[in-house]
């Protein structure tokens, strides 16, 4: 794990991996959308509306997956003071918030024709909305401090506390009698969904995962470069040579 704590080594690895991840993401989402929109059969009850599922379900999975990643990265950052882990947590949060938002929007677009309403306050929907708020709190907290390091540490604690919500979301459809249907793919007795619908779903899920990983690499790279710039600037200040950025306003 600490092999990649060295930013230089990480950046080299990221440069190699990024094109592969990007291609995998385009392929996954392309195949998933193609199969889902044109090949997969319409549902016998829901008609073509069922196709919203191919975006909705992977986004919802990603919402939970990204939050779990943030929690793990936060624990690693707090326990081992791993320098990249808290950066990864901070870089993941807006991505996770985006997936959660996508899941909520597609869900409510599907809900209008199917349930007759954009929103119901059932356990699954409410707990995902709470997850969205947790993401927003995490983003706000990590940018609320003058010292970025301190913001990331505080956000790490919040992420670990907020993790209690993840199992609640996963099992909300089993614990409470909800309007949202229970799981049909990840079950102990195997998926109850037809293979024609399962394959596009899997392709989309893989595509989304690689999309997340690609963006994570890009964001991590820019975070690292940003802290490098800040370090260079402060060393220039220490040497008595004011950096360009700071003087531009001062002398004008």
């Amino acid at each position: 794990m600490h092999r990649f704590a060295n930013p230089g080594r990480f950046l080299r690895l990221a440069r190699v991996l990024l094109p592969w991840f990007a291609v995998a993401s385009v392929l996954g989402i392309g195949i998933g959308l193609g199969l889902g929109l044109f090949v997969a059969p319409p549902d016998y009850q829901q008609g073509d509306t069922v196709r919203i599922m191919y975006v909705h379900v992977p986004s919802a999975w990603m919402a939970l997956f990204v939050y779990t990643n943030i929690a793990i990265a936060s624990a690693v950052a707090l326990i081992w003071r791993h320098p990249l882990a808290d950066l990864a947590a901070k870089a993941s949060a807006p991505l996770g918030a985006g997936f959660t938002f996508l899941a909520l929007i597609t869900g409510s677009l599907w809900g209008k024709p199917m349930w007759g309403t954009y929103w119901v306050w059932d356990a699954r929907l409410t707990s995902v909305l709470v997850l969205f708020f947790l993401y927003l709190g995490h983003i706000a907290l990590s940018s609320a401090f003058d010292d970025p390091q301190r913001g990331r540490r505080a956000a790490a604690i919040l992420a670990l506390v907020g993790f209690v919500n993840v199992p609640i979301i996963k099992f909300s459809v089993d614990w409470w009698n909800t309007l949202h249907q229970p799981a049909s793919v990840i079950r102990l007795d195997g998926p109850t969904i037809h293979p024609d619908m399962l394959w596009p779903l899997i392709a989309m899920a893989l595509g989304f995962t690689f999309y997340y990983l690609s963006l994570l690499l890009v964001r991590l790279r820019s975070e690292l470069l940003e802290s490098r710039i800040r370090a260079l600037e402060s060393s220039m200040v220490a040497e008595g040579r004011a950096p360009r950025l700071a003087t531009a306003g001062g002398e004008a």
Binding site: L141, G151, R153, A154, L158, G162, I168
Partner: protein, 226 residues
């Protein structure tokens, strides 16, 4: 050693209580906010007694939650600004125990007064009298959890820009379950259903928050005073 710890713990509780009593306005403001906001809804919704009686549990709980939120900032901020928190972090008593002591004092000066004021709101809203003891019981079980979860948010926002505005954003999502089960228990009582599951879940939240929230808050304070 053990007696010293208990003495130190009680010392912090006593100190915070004395401070709260000397600045009575702070604690009074929370109760006033609770009563005033509670009295506001009938103006917005109309004075229809059946409607008011039906929404009373929700109003009591939501306003209590907001009132607790309002009071969270003073939990650590003054001690953080004058450096007392730094000294507390250096004391032999574990920081999580200090957080627990401060949370206890906070609950005694907010949660308890809120419980005392709740019957007034219940009266204004025509809540079924038979449901009043249960309402107080849910508040007794729930408000300590609000204080404990809130302590984590208050500790995390120490030293942050616009810390006061940050606390609700951090705390509200985590306190929603307390709200749901608190209101759920009273609604179940009014509908003649069993209140036990809701009360057990409220108790479970408190039992989990009691050890874990002080640990998380202590970790956050340690970062703030580092």
């Amino acid at each position: 050693m053990e007696r010293d710890s208990v003495k130190a713990f009680l010392g912090i509780v006593g100190r915070d209580l004395r401070l709260a009593l000397r600045q009575r306005a702070d604690a009074l403001m929370v109760v006033l906010f609770f009563v005033l906001t509670g009295a506001l809804f009938p103006f917005g919704l109309g004075p229809e007694p059946n409607l008011l009686a039906r929404i009373a549990p929700g109003i009591i709980w939501v306003t209590a939650l907001l009132a607790v939120l309002l009071s969270l900032e003073r939990l650590f901020l003054a001690d953080y600004e004058d450096g007392a928190l730094e000294l507390m972090a250096l004391s032999p008593l574990p920081l999580s125990a200090i957080v627990l002591a401060k949370a206890l004092a906070h609950w005694l000066t907010t949660g308890l007064p809120l419980m005392a004021a709740a019957p007034l709101i219940a009266l204004l809203y025509n809540l079924d009298e038979a449901a009043l003891p249960l309402t107080l019981a849910t508040l007794a079980l729930g408000t300590p959890s609000l204080t404990l979860i809130g302590a984590v948010g208050a500790a995390l926002s120490l030293g942050a820009r616009r810390g006061g505005a940050l606390i609700p954003l951090l705390v509200l999502p985590l306190t929603i379950p307390v709200l749901i089960f608190g209101v759920g228990a009273i609604d179940a009582e009014l509908a003649g259903l069993s209140t036990k599951p809701h009360l057990l879940l409220l108790g479970a939240i408190l039992v989990l928050a009691l050890p874990f929230a002080p640990i998380a808050a202590a970790a956050a304070i340690r970062q703030a005073v580092e």
